[in-house]
Structure formats: C-alpha cells, structure tokens
C-alpha cells in the first residue's frame, strides 16, 4: 500500500514538474504580455498543486502533510494575486493585447509601442 | 578529469566570482557595479558552503525526528564511514560555515543598501550615476574653480 502510494506520489510530482516546464515554454513562446502571464500563473498553480499532492501522498499522515497543505493555500492565494497585479501594471503602462488571427510579424516591421520589445531591439 | 569532478564546485564558484569582478570593472553604472559586488559576495558564500558539505551528510539539526532522514541516508553507506565520521549514527555537514554565511547574507543586504544610498545621493548631486559622466562633471567644476581663482 505504502509502496503504491510512493509510486503514485512520485508520478504526480513528475507530472507537476512537466506542467511547470510547459508553462516556462509558454512564457517564452506566447505572443504578448497577457498570454505570457496566463501561461506562467496557471501552470504555476496547477504544477504546484500536483507536486504538493504527490509529496503529501509520499509523506502520508504526518505533520509534514499539514505544512504542505499550508504551502498549497499560500500558493493559491499569492500566485493569482501576483498575476492580477502584473496584468494590471501591464494594462496601466499601455500594453495592448494582441487580438485576432495570429500572424508572424516580419522582423523589420515597426513594432507596436511595447517598451520591453523596444528596449530589446535597441540593445541588439 | 576526476579532479574536474571533485573540484567542480570550486571552479563554478570562481567563474561566478570572476563574472562579478568583470561587471564591477567593465560597467560604469554605479547600480550595475553594486549588483556585480553582490554577485561577487554571493560567490564567497557558495565557496564556504561548498567546503562545509560532507558526503552523505544531513543538515546539522540533531532533533530525533528530523534525523530520521539522516539515519536513512547513513544506512545507505558503508558502516565504517558512518562510524568514523558520524555522530550517533548520523553524518552531519559542518555547521560553522553555515553560521558565518547566514549572518554575512543579512549584513550583505544592509551594506548593499548603504552603497545604493550613496548612488542615490550621487545621482542627486551630479544628475547621473555613470562614472564617466560624473568624472566629466567634476572636471568641469574643477576647471571652473581654477578659472575663478586665477589672477
């Protein structure tokens, strides 16, 4: 029984880590700030939930499990609030979401007023 | 090659330290220089902690419940090794460098704040935090002062 729980828990930790990795890829590949925030925060909470659940299964009914539950509650409270604040700040500083069919923008085309991108292109 | 593996930590620490040194020397911006110094300082911390690690060791907390993991770790190893280097059947890492670095990190952030405060005052006095521009401004000031005092 314990052995089976260990395997299930380990599998959940691996799936959670993979989910976080996909989130990181999303942050790099998505086109604008809002989708990137979406990728980061959603996979963060999901990945952390799965990983903590897996760790809880491995440790069984111990005080450690209670601590893991606290950590989970904390992550669930902070990550969405941080994502909200980030999106708020991005909206406040004039980032526009890219709406419509996705198209590849030629690299020599003038960029939109995106401070981050502007800085990056000037530094190259 | 085996020396590379057994001394990998020290080599990585030296690379990070030299990165910090390079930032301090190559960048004229005072804030960037403070970041370089922070990196340099952090590499010293990494070096101390690397020295303190004992193979197969566990955190130096001798609580009965907490050392359960330490006992499991010790059980994986050759009994002679544990008997020679362990205490009470558990191998611990060295706590002394941990103490030194723990206080050094908090002192480091306090001194970093002092450096940044100086940078802020420099910005207020000269209007810039670039070392070259500060030098240019002081040179102009000095030239103006000499011209005033010239007979």
């Amino acid at each position: 029984m314990t052995e089976a729980l260990h395997w299930i828990g380990g599998g959940l930790v691996v799936i959670g880590s993979l989910l976080t990795l996909f989130g990181a890829v999303g942050v790099l590949r998505f086109p604008d700030v809002y989708t990137r925030i979406h990728a980061a925060s959603l996979t963060d909470t999901g990945g952390a939930t799965l990983a903590l659940l897996g760790l809880g299964l491995i440790s069984g009914l111990t005080p450690e499990t209670l601590k893991l539950a606290f950590i989970w509650a904390f992550v669930m409270l902070t990550t969405p609030a941080a994502a909200n604040a980030l999106a708020n700040a991005a909206y406040g500083s004039g980032h526009k979401p890219r709406i419509g069919a996705f198209q590849i923008i030629p690299s020599d085309a003038p960029r939109e007023t995106d401070p981050e991108d502007a800085d990056r292109s000037s530094s190259q | 090659m085996s020396e590379f593996l057994t001394h990998f930590n020290y080599i990585a620490v030296v690379i990070i330290m030299m990165t910090g040194l390079f930032i301090v020397f190559s960048s004229g911006n005072l804030i960037k220089r403070m970041i370089g110094l922070a990196l340099f300082q952090s590499s010293a911390a990494l070096f101390y902690i690397s020295l303190a690690k004992v193979t197969g060791g566990t955190a130096p907390i001798t609580l009965e419940a907490a050392s359960e993991a330490g006992r499991a770790l010790a059980a994986e190893q050759v009994p002679g090794y544990v008997a020679q280097h362990g205490i009470d059947g558990v191998v611990y890492s060295n706590p002394l460098p941990h103490v030194l670095i723990l206080t050094a990190i908090v002192v480091g952030v306090a001194t970093l704040a002092v450096g940044l405060a100086i940078a802020v005052r420099v910005r207020e006095a000269y209007g810039t935090v670039e070392a070259d521009e500060i030098n240019a401004v002081s040179r102009i000031d000095a030239a103006g002062l000499q011209a005033e005092h010239a007979p």
Binding site: T78 | Y10, F22, M34, L46, E76
Partner: protein, 354 residues
C-alpha cells in the same frame, strides 16, 4: 559509500551550480538594469535550492528571504531614484576587464585544485572545530539546531558584531536618505481605483499570516531551521508589503519612522546588555551560564519546558532567547528604516521646483 540519494544530491549540485553560472553570465550580459535586478532575484532563489542540497537549511532560508525579498525591493527602490539604463560600453573598453577576470580566474582555479576534495569529511575545515560543535552542543548549550547554538552562544560575540554592523548600515542609510528637502513624503498617489482590489484583499489576508510566521520562525529556531535573522527580515517584509500596497503614509502611521529607528538601537542594547549581565554575575562577556545568579536559577520551575527530569541549561536557554530577540528587533527595524529611506525620497522634488 555512494547510495542513490548521495548520487542524486551530487547531480543536483552540478545542475544547480551550472544554472547559477548561467544566470551570473546573463546578469553580466544584459544592459537593462531592471532585467539584471530580476535575474539577481532568480539567482537568489536558485542558490537557496542549491543551499538545501548542501544541507545548509538555515542559510537557504536566509537567502530565500533576503535575496528574493528584501534586496530586490531595495534595488528596485534605488533604480526608481536613479532612473535609466546603463550606457552602451564600447567593446574595446571591455577587453582589459575581461582579460583581467580570465587571468585571475585561471589562477584561482589552478589554486583551488589544491583544496581538499568536495565532500571530504576529514578535511581541515570539517574535522576539527565544526565536528566539536556537533559533538558538544547537546550537553553544553541545548538547542537541537546546532547552527542556532553556534550562532547565539559559541560565537555570540561575533554575532553581536554583525548586529552592530547591520545597525550601523541602517543608520548610514537613514542619515543619507532620511533628511533634507527631498525626504519629504512624496505626494499621496491618486486614490487607488477599484482595479487594485484583488491586491488589497490578498495583502490584508497575507500580512497577519506573514507576521505570525515571522514569530514562528523566531521561536522555532532552537528546534528547526530558522532564527532571528530570518524572522527579522520576514517581519520587515510584512511591513514593506503593507507599504507597497496601501501607500507609505499609512505605513508610517502604523510604524512611525522614529519608532523603527529607536527599536533598532534597542535591539543592540538588549544584546549587549545580556553580555553585561553575565559579566556582573561573575562570568565572561556573553557567557550565558552566568546569566542567572544561583538563587534566581533555583526559582525556575523544573517543568517549565515539559519534561522535568531532562537536564536544562536555563542560562543558555534564556540567554539565546533574549539575544535572538535583540537580533530580531535590530534586523527588522533596520530593514524597515532602509525601506523608508528609499521609498520616502522623491526624485522630482527639486526638479519640479525649477
């Protein structure tokens, strides 16, 4: 000698160190100061994970709290007051520093090959005084966490020095940024719209929890990872979070500037005062075995901490408790003072006057 766990920890060590090297190089490469600061925050988190692999639980805790929390906020406050990215540097100007770094690094790597192997239990650093602390702490001092015992008792004088340095640094920042025409409070930001409501609600829920957690870390330091330095920074971070979300005016109404400054001095005084009491009772400076005179020690009930049969070092126990309290007061109020210094300064006061 190498079990699965040992090999895994060696692999984690290599991977995390390579990540640290990569982040360090990225900091050197970027010209954007904001990027550099955020990368330093990431660097601190990764190095906290690495410190856990190195069994340095207390240091990992400190690094996570200080590096990712306090120092990032201070650096952000500083670039807000200095404005601007780093100027472009001609590549020819970088040749000399790069050459110097490569030569020095090569010499250091060559020298480091003479160091004892990584993880060697019988190296001079690990075999003598470090091992002695581990063997004797249980009977001489008491706390289960050897790091706390060494920090507060064996090396208490050293820690007093560190506390004074932190206090002096806070004093320095207060003197440089705390006075003058620009230190007047920046005009209150226009009334926050409803779009910050999520942040405010989350902060209201979190701040009491963070404060409670700081005290848990403080008083649990004898048993597990934690202690006054970490707790002090966590307590300060709770105040800073309040300041970031609700504005500086409200924060100063709750924690006045003068209170923060005097509490920092009070902490150092408490620490040094414990040392003086030990001297008055006939011991050396900070020798907690002499903290209580024998009459006072006889009055302490044997079952104060549960089991009456277990032998307790009451002087050591209370000495560490009071000393850590002093460190908590100094560290937390110093970081709050530093935050007030940077946050309360307005860059445009003089420029607006012109």
């Amino acid at each position: 000698m190498t079990g699965f766990a040992v090999e895994m920890s060696a692999a984690l060590n290599v991977v995390l160190l390579l990540m640290l090297v990569a982040i360090g190089l990225a900091v050197a490469h970027t010209r954007n100061l904001l990027t550099a600061i955020l990368l330093m925050s990431v660097y601190s988190l990764v190095s906290a994970a690495w410190l856990m692999v190195m069994d340095a639980a207390d240091v990992a805790f400190t690094e996570a709290v200080v590096g990712a929390g306090a120092s990032t906020i201070i650096l952000l406050g500083a670039i807000l007051l200095t404005r601007g990215a780093t100027a472009r540097v001609d590549w020819r100007a970088m040749v000399a520093p790069a050459l110097l770094a490569v030569i020095t690094g090569g010499l250091l790597i060559y020298a480091s090959l003479g160091l004892p192997e990584f993880g060697d239990p019988s190296s001079p650093a690990n075999a003598y005084v470090g091992r002695m602390y581990l063997e004797r702490t249980g009977e001489e001092v008491g706390p289960h966490n050897v790091v706390t015992a060494v920090l507060a008792s064996y090396r208490g004088f050293d820690t007093l020095g560190e506390t004074v340095v932190i206090f002096a640094a806070g004093l320095g920042v207060a003197l440089m940024l705390g006075f003058g025409p620009r230190a007047t409070l920046a005009p209150a930001p226009e009334k926050m719209g409803d779009h910050h409501v999520v942040l405010r609600v989350a902060a209201k829920m979190l701040i009491p929890l963070i404060t409670l957690y700081a005290f848990y870390v403080q008083f649990h330091g004898d048993l597990g990872a934690g202690g006054a330095f970490q707790a002090g920074v966590i307590l300060a971070v709770a105040v800073i979070l309040y300041g970031l979300v609700f504005g500086l005016r409200e924060t100063i109404a709750a924690v006045p500037v003068k209170a923060a400054r005097s509490v920092a001095a009070l902490g150092v005084m408490l620490y040094a005062g414990i040392g003086v009491i030990c001297m008055v009772n006939g011991g050396a400076f900070l020798d907690y075995d002499y903290l209580f005179s024998p009459q006072v020690e006889a009055m302490i009930p044997a079952n104060l901490l549960g089991d009456p049969h277990e032998e307790h070092h009451w002087g050591q126990h209370f000495g560490i408790l009071f000393v850590e309290l002093g460190v908590l007061l100094t560290v937390s109020s110093t970081i709050v003072t530093i935050f007030y210094g940077f946050a309360g300064r307005s860059i445009d006061a003089e420029e607006a006057k012109r």
